[in-house]
Symmetry: C2
Subunit: 776 residues, 2 copies
């Protein structure tokens, strides 16, 4: 491990300074909410339960510290008790009270409550999920597994949450549906079995706040969308304003949903999020999906990371969003115990067709949310108008209401007159429609299209301009509402804004782990919120196309849940390994998956590749990891005792740091090298040791296939693994030796264990990357 650590520049100083300033800000005379970790083994036996212990602790602080009254809180106050994902509580405390608390028996650590940042349905087809084979068949479409969706609640009336075809609920699952504002328990059913909400943290922070929707009802749409992606029932005849029309369905249409709302219009705080995850684990969910994340924050103050560690230790996999910040090591949820999900485009596109007066038909991108009538209208291309950036467009056109104007490509999209500004001008001028020449990838992951028109690429744009120039009275007709599978472009393609690894929280594991569909996914949406607009009129919809790693995450969660249904004995690590080693690094043209800017994507963007649920069902071998393996990992993290215990809690066997190791038995490999002006890297070598468990039904022999990253040498020993039977384990070692790189670029390769006389192949990506590039 020694040589490996040489690669890593821990960013904690930067993160500390940020965290410190936040502390200072909050410390001035005010109480605020802290998340407090306790060692439960210190709990005196006189207490009937831990909640009693926590209240008593707060009471004793109240007695010990001279009373102070702040704006909201006349005394320290317990917010939540936690006991599942970790042990502890959240409480409203002053700095003095916190200091007193720190002296209490069993105190481990405390950190400030923080705001969590938020991050369907062709995809089951795109993922080749079919009722008669593969993972859908094996899992009964996810029957009898429960996906906990931690988000902004749910719109229970959506057709996606009807319980047609769902079996009765086992008894242990009754009674986890909590009533509240505009939400009663009859809104739960055999599909939506649980609905709970957590906002004591928000109220602790500011007791004057009125929680406008004090229940699990969704007031934002994000939660409803995510839940229906993961496990929405079949919902016929739905669409996004006529686009993507058909039957929506979640990835696991027969899985059950339990929602835990911690995101409110009034905010989303760590304390509530932990309470939500604590409850989800207590309730017994099989998988957790969370499309939220923290930005720059050390692991031991990252509530999702901490709570997910607790969930993983209890056998619950957490699927979390990689984030939508795009380039530059901004990936969120990069903890080694989380399944970190990147977002990709599918093969489906939304279009309008332009028919020119000469009969030429050109398909362009459109999501105008209605079928506008644009027929045989005069088509104008005029160099002085073509930027479509002038308020006086209207005054220069003789018959604006009948005119289709061509808005030419403007390279300087960042400045403002890209598509969204141009369509706004065409709207203000009340033209008949616009033709927008643009290749800006952002256009093709947005559903906003408030005025009739189409977007075409430069080549098609030139065809149109040539027609206009050569015609006496050029005209065009546009038809809308087209949805098609695009055979001309490769798929999947990585979304341009899907965040790139490695994770600033922990560099030792390549993140994200996997890529799943996340661009313009059709899924359920509350009918009382703004979905799209036509001109100044805002519109609502029961289903909406949304984009982001938020949408990719429940796809991965749904697949993980179905794997759990088929293989209840698999650990979270085994499930993640099955998904990663069977993921596809190639697109449907058999070439490496690319970003939307046409550059080949690296494992620091797509992880092991695009998830392949049917292959994940039967991976052959898995890289498993036990709770102790994760303890060993955090033992290697140079944490303070307090930080360590924040994860490892009090349980005796979690304290065994006799074998610290950053070399987690993970299904991917990363080697980071520092900037070196001499470009002399011959001294750089990193060794890994891995153990594979045979989850196939019989013994099998696997042979090695290596794709070596450019500028590295990879050696593996042994080169052949013989598994005698099911659950047999075999280990190998892998060494990456970096041999220099003039471009100091990110390179990647893979190793694949290929079954002899069998169908299994078990692939792990290898990535080498310049660390200084990442951290600048």
């Amino acid at each position: 491990m020694g040589s490996r650590m040489g690669f890593l520049y821990f960013p904690h100083l930067i993160l500390f300074s940020w965290a410190l300033s936040a502390h200072l800000l909050l410390a001035i005379g005010q109480r605020s909410t802290y998340i407090v970790h306790l060692d439960k083994s210190f709990m005196p036996t006189v207490f009937a339960d831990h909640h009693h212990w926590h209240s008593s602790t707060i009471d004793s602080i109240k007695a010990a510290v001279p009373s102070s009254v702040d704006r909201f809180h006349s005394a320290p106050k317990l917010v939540y008790s936690y006991d599942n994902v970790f042990h502890g509580f959240s409480a409203v405390l002053s700095i003095d009270e916190l200091a007193a608390l720190k002296k209490s028996p069993g105190f481990i650590s405390a950190y400030n409550d923080r705001t969590v940042e938020p991050q369907t349905t062709h995809t089951s087809d795109f993922l080749k999920l079919a009722p008669s084979s593969g993972l859908w068949k094996a899992s009964g479409l996810g029957q009898d597994v429960i996906i906990g969706v931690l988000d902004g609640g749910i719109w229970p009336e959506s057709a996606s949450f009807r319980d047609d075809g769902m079996p009765e609920i086992p008894k242990r699952w009754k009674g986890i549906c909590k009533p509240g504002t505009q939400f009663n328990t009859s809104m739960c059913n055999r599909k939506l079995i649980g609905a709970n909400y957590f906002n004591k943290g928000i109220l602790a922070n500011d007791p004057t706040i009125n929680i406008s929707m004090n229940s699990a009802r969704d007031t934002d749409g994000h939660g409803t969308h995510c839940a229906s992606i993961a496990a929405g029932n079949f919902a016929r005849g739905v669409s996004h304003f006529g686009y993507a029309a058909g039957t929506a369905r979640g990835v696991a249409p027969r899985a059950r949903i339990a929602v835990y709302k911690f995101s409110f219009d009034e905010g989303e705080l760590t304390s509530d999020l932990i309470a939500a995850m604590d409850q989800a684990v207590a309730d017994g969910v099989d998988v957790i999906s969370i499309s939220f994340g923290y930005g720059l924050i050390p692991l031991y103050e990252d509530a999702i990371s901490i709570a997910s560690f607790g969930a993983m230790m209890k056998g619950v996999l957490v699927s979390a969003a990689a984030g939508n910040d795009g380039r530059g090591a901004n990936v969120l949820n990069g903890s080694p115990w989380i399944l970190c999900v990147a977002s990709g485009h599918t093969d489906r596109r939304f279009a309008g067709t332009l028919t020119l007066g000469n009969g030429l038909k050109i398909r362009g991108w459109s999501l105008f949310p209605a079928r506008a009538f644009v027929k045989d209208s005069p088509l104008i291309y005029n160099k002085t108008l073509a930027a479509c950036d002038s308020d006086e467009l209207l005054s220069q056109l003789s018959d604006p209401e009948r005119t289709i104007l061509i808005c030419d490509y403007n390279a300087d999209e960042e400045v403002g007159f890209g598509f969204s500004s141009q369509i706004s001008q065409v709207n203000q001028a009340r033209l008949k429609a616009g033709i927008f020449i643009s290749e800006d990838p952002r256009v093709f992951q947005s559903s906003s299209f408030p005025y009739p028109g189409v977007v075409v690429d430069k080549k098609k744009g030139n065809q149109i301009i040539n027609y206009v120039k050569s015609s006496v009275a050029p005209t065009a007709t546009i038809t809308f509402h087209e949805t098609y599978v695009d055979k001309e472009r490769p798929a999947p393609v990585l979304a341009g804004n899907s965040a790139q690894g490695p994770s600033k929280s922990y560099l030792g594991i390549a993140k994200p782990d996997i890529m799943a569909p996340g661009v313009l996914i059709l899924a359920a949406f509350p009918p009382n919120l703004v979905s799209e607009s036509i001109q100044n009129i805002q519109l609502t919809s029961d289903y909406e196309l949304k984009s982001g790693t938020s949408m990719a995450t429940p796809h991965a969660a749904g697949i993980a849940a179905m794997l759990k249904a088929v293989h209840p004995e698999w650990s979270p690590s085994a499930i993640r390994s099955a998904m990663m080693t069977t993921a596809n690094p190639l697109d449907n043209t058999k070439k490496p998956i690319r970003r939307d800017n046409n550059v080949v994507a690296t494992p620091l963007e797509i992880g092991a590749g695009h998830v392949d649920p049917n292959r994940a069902l039967d991976p052959g071998l898995v890289y498993d990891a036990t709770p102790q393996d994760y303890i060993n990992l955090i033992c290697s993290m140079n944490f303070t005792e307090e930080q360590f215990k924040t994860f490892a809690r009090s349980s005796a066997n979690y304290h065994d740091c006799s074998n610290p190791s950053a070399d987690l038995n993970y299904p991917s490999f990363i080697a980071l090298y520092p900037f070196n002006p001499e470009r002399n890297y011959t001294w750089l070598e990193q060794k890994f040791r891995r153990t594979l468990t045979n989850v196939g039904e019989a013994g099998a022999t696997y042979k090695l296939k290596i794709e070596t990253p450019k500028n590295s040498k990879v050696s593996v020993s042994p080169q052949k693994l013989v598994f005698k039977g099911k659950n047999d384990k075999q280990s190998y070692s892998l060494t990456i030796r970096y041999v220099g790189d003039n471009d100091q670029s990110t390179n990647f390769g893979s190793i694949t264990w290929v079954e002899e006389n069998g169908n299994h192949s078990v692939r792990s990506p290898i990535v080498t990357s310049l660390i200084v590039q990442v951290w600048e």
Copy 2:
């Protein structure tokens, strides 16, 4: 009959003068198109067929009349030969050529080509049509009958014209699908078995015209809508922009459709219409639906009347629209041999719900074609703004984009600031939404609703205004896309613009005959036409809500076709009788059907009442009439020989005028009285004789029930009719004696023959009306 005629003031003088002036206009040195009736018995045997005779006739005129060249036509020219609905042709002739033609052997009459004036899918439920019982079951949903739809063609790609579930086409029906512009024969199928088009008349009138869609393809929507109402297949998941969402289906979903397009963007002319009906009868359609009509025109120049007479003589019932001209004896298609159809509202409404800030929910009318987001927006009522008639609304509101404005009821709707003007103002001011207080019935039969808002009645309007006045910060939320069956209002209700009888063309029979659903009917629509608008953006739709007797007509045609399927031996008169005597004069509250202004409707508005297809299946008795009965009727019409032959043609037995009688064996009774300042009507008496045919399976006895019209005495003899077996006929006589009326109003009653120990009851409306009122 003598006394009866005393009631009638023929309007022919007025109509003649109109027709004469048209003649004069066209006579000046120009050729124009004439419809020419010939007596086929004069056809020399040397001619192989009638077409040959017609060409030869034109050729002989060419030889006889000194040649003249007009703008378009260098010589007289044959346009169409007709041989089915009557015998004759249409031809382009000069006045001199016409004069020569008149001397040709077999010439009967000639009149100028004229322009025809144009006039879905909860209704099968509303009509209680169900697959497992009644008319749908008995007719196999109309299986194997053919409805000829004479209109503006069809959009063959509509889901309503798919042929799922349709049986193979009998051989005799192949080859009646004619290709043309954007239409090839493969567009016909087992549902749409025929598609033909007729525009030679248009081209004869102006050969320079370019027929832009020279095929049966619909460029207007009217034909597609009507065809799918009559016999559209089941089409799932359709709606009018989200309203009326569900499965559309025609009245006879398994009947076949043959379309005959005579209405083009370039016009619609009599000559083409006759050609269309001639072809439909030749093709063997079972029923014809025609949602067109002529205004002020005598019967013997009314091409629909003439061609329908021919169709009826060949056993084909013609269902035609009563017209949308509302009050004042403006009913169209009032010929005794046509089924004349009035239009009613169903029990379905389209709504938006207003939720006031105080929680009060108020449902208002809305067809805004999208789901606008209007949530907790400030609600303003301001007397100076409430007329919503000012261009400067915007400047007087502090935050227009967020404001919901109440537009108050303005009694003077005719002047312009009714709903449609007010919504246009709210749109221009770009407010959030409008609340329109209006009780104008026209609002509730229009689908135009281009800006977010709701229409409420005065009572609800006052509730809203009171809330605004009593609230510090009044707000409202509006939700859209509501479709519901209104249990609070009676249904059906007569559409306010459904034309009123009696017919100026012929007063002796009460028209219209029957009422069918015709308001906001959802049916198929071409996807390339403007359906509705949002602000200035025009929108298209595959299905649309349309209103008018045009929509009622194919409902009646579909029902007639199913009756024909079950009772192939029934004559057109028997089918009409079955529909009329079983029609319901009461609404679903068991009270007489009313107009949309809440006044009880008379038989001169709703005929026998609202069609009841399941009862029509088994009427017990029918009032039948043979072709000779209709000859006897026209024998009574004081026609000239020429006018008479225009209907009766050449066939020898049609010439038997030995028994002229206006007392057609009709299922309704009308007595018209002249204005009489002394109000002394004791001398007024009208006698009718009727014969009923038992179409029940066994013998039956019927007893009389009379509802006497106010101010009249009705006597019937005998009062009991005993039918020995099926097809047995029994006659009775009925006398209406008018006894005076201070108000000189329209009164009505009925006689009903009620089966003893059986379920049948056979009702006929009786109407007495002041004739001078009508003809002023």
